[in-house]
């Protein structure tokens, strides 16, 4: 038991220490970051946050952009992936195998290779600089993973449940709404979080599709902060941006932690 707690403590340090470092840095003056001699009381400042929020456009604008894009992406992905996953789970076994392989292949494909093609699409259909439009490639890129997770969730449901619902007189949509969706809710929640995270963190597509400074998403905006000066790296501001950018995710995970855990372990559904 004590051995286990040591491992857990190590794991916590391993994963939390960098975040703590960022947090501390974000409240530290630029001087103090390079000067160890400074006394403890002179090290602290809120200037990094003030700088961040007083730029034009202010930093919260990027937070809003990212939230919008990530929410739209999550919504679009789930709306498309849930019916598709249901269909995949109901296919005859001989087709299911090859389709599954194709989906896994798509999930493993390094999507950076696609970004030139995506840029061409954005140009042809004038989808650039549009926060709603960018959620389309994001959904497409998240689709394989969402399909895999949701198909597995549908397959894990006992067939008898849907049969019973059928005999109770529920049509396909009623079965989805009243029986199947509530039962795969944990898997949907964990899928939603993963898709949200992907859209929140995505860089190359956002870099090429969005150029207007008031439409940037967080990763691009943060890269701009880091590259804003040729002569110095604004560590403090950068750290403050990281902290602010992580807060929405932390909130999301805290709110949905039960669903995420049960969805990932997938032992949640028992008759």
């Amino acid at each position: 038991m004590t051995r286990r707690s040591i491992w857990i403590a190590l794991l916590l340090v391993w994963s939390l220490a960098p975040m703590l470092w960022q947090l501390v840095s974000s409240f530290t003056t630029a001087d103090a970051l390079v000067n160890e001699q400074l006394s403890f009381w002179n090290r602290w400042t809120l200037n990094n946050y003030r700088d961040l929020l007083s730029t034009d456009p202010p930093f919260w604008r990027y937070l809003f952009n990212s939230s919008l894009v990530a929410s739209l992406t999550t919504l679009l992905t789930l709306v498309l992936a849930i019916p598709a996953a249901y269909g995949l789970a109901k296919l005859p076994i001989r087709w299911r195998g090859s389709l599954r392989t194709a989906v896994v292949g798509a999930a493993l494909f390094p999507y950076v290779l696609l970004f030139l093609a995506l840029l061409e699409l954005a140009r042809t259909f004038s989808l650039g600089n549009n926060l709603i439009a960018i959620s389309i490639p994001y959904s497409a890129l998240s689709m394989p993973l969402a399909l895999l997770l949701l198909t597995a969730a549908f397959e894990a449901l006992p067939n008898d449940l849907e049969d019973a619902a059928k005999l109770e007189g529920l049509s396909l949509w009623q079965r989805l709404r009243w029986v199947l969706l509530p039962l795969i809710a944990p898997a949907s929640a964990s899928t939603a979080i993963l898709v949200f995270l992907f859209a929140w963190n995505e860089y190359p597509v956002a870099l090429t599709w969005l150029s207007r400074s008031d439409l940037l998403t967080l990763p691009v905006a943060m890269a701009r902060i880091a590259g804003s000066s040729t002569y110095s790296v604004p560590y403090g501001t950068y750290a403050a941006a990281t902290v602010l950018g992580a807060i929405p995710l932390l909130v999301l995970v805290l709110v949905f932690q039960r669903q995420i855990v049960s969805g990932l372990t997938n032992g949640a559904i028992k008759g």
């Binding site: 049969d163 529920l170 029986v179």
Partner: protein, 325 residues
């Protein structure tokens, strides 16, 4: 209300599961489909329910053709082996879901659910989830749901196979009172011959996708049409003596008796149940199961015989029943 299956065939891929199955269930009659696993009895039930489609043949309920009617609109009440209760809903919501979807006012709905819960002694569990209930309680909820369906036919798919023996005996009278003997035909799938004998008006013994014999429990017990039926009906199993002159002789274990002029045997094993006991004995015609009163004292090398009226005669090759000699 009647149920009629005509020449139903069904195969999964290359494997035929049902071959030209015919079955009639009359108004209020309970027919048990009895057979080993994989004989097609559950498939037959799923075809009646509309959960699978037959390759050919016709299914008629009250003389209306049902093959093209989707399961949602077939009005059958089915109890699944796994109970198939919705795990995310409590008992009340489980019963309410179907009623709500099928329409009707909240008032009548609530009244009907309360009544069924009361009849099945489930009222105090209305707010509990299925996972909080015992096996027997879950089974009663599943019965309640089937009752509330107002079905034209009741289909029971091994409804008691997940319960322990004690509970099964307790539930049988409830089942008989609520479902069996109403207006609806009942099809009861089971692999437990005792349950079939206890509940069914007629038993259809199935083998490899067709009905080997159908008849009242009494007919099946007294006049089994083949060695397969003979061994399926009645416990302990009927003794089959190896064929002599192309004739296999079957004798029920309870028809054997101790007789000082009989065949000399040695006792291989003895199981004592109180009221009776079962002996496994070896004589020169083979090993025999024998049941006699628990009080009987048995010699180490008893002699046994049987009256020739008790002999069931079967064809040595096909296993079909031969007319009594």
């Amino acid at each position: 209300m009647t149920l009629e299956l005509r020449a139903i065939s069904k195969s999964f891929g290359e494997r035929p599961v049902l071959k030209q199955l015919d079955l009639n269930v009359a108004d209020g009659e309970c027919v048990a489909l009895l057979g080993a696993s994989g004989c097609g009895k559950s498939t037959a039930l799923r075809l009646i329910a509309g959960l699978d489609q037959p390759d050919q043949g016709s299914i008629r309920i009250n003389d209306a053709e049902m093959v093209d009617v989707p399961a949602e609109r077939r009005r059958v009440g089915m109890v699944f082996q796994s109970y198939a209760l919705f795990p995310h809903l409590n008992v009340w919501e489980n019963l309410e879901l179907g009623l709500r979807i099928r329409g009707g006012t909240t008032g009548t709905r609530d009244a009907r659910i309360s009544r069924v819960l009361e009849v099945l002694q489930l009222s105090e569990y209305a707010q509990q989830r299925p996972s909080q209930l015992s096996g027997g309680q879950r089974q009663r909820v599943a019965l309640a749901r089937a009752l509330l369906r107002d079905p034209l036919v009741y289909l029971l798919d091994e409804p008691m196979s997940n319960l322990d023996a004690q509970l099964r005996e307790d539930l049988r009278p409830q089942l008989r009172r609520l479902m069996i003997g109403g207006d609806q035909p009942v099809v009861y799938v089971t692999h437990d011959q005792q349950e079939a004998m206890a509940l069914a008006d007629r038993i259809a013994v199935m083998r490899n996708g067709s009905i080997e014999q159908i008849g009242t429990p009494r007919e099946l017990y007294l006049q089994p049409a083949s060695t397969y039926v003979a061994q399926f009906i009645g416990r302990p199993q009927m003794n089959l003596l190896p064929a002599q002159n192309g004739v296999t002789i079957g004798i029920r274990p309870d028809d054997l008796r101790l007789d000082s002029d009989g065949w000399p045997c040695t006792i291989l094993s003895r199981e004592w149940f109180g009221a009776n006991q079962m002996l496994l004995v070896r004589c020169d015609r083979g090993d025999l199961r024998m049941v006699c009163s628990g009080e009987t004292t048995i010699a180490a090398e008893p002699q046994i015989s049987w009256s020739s009226d008790c002999e069931h005669r079967f064809d040595g090759i096909s296993g079909r029943r031969l007319p009594s000699a």
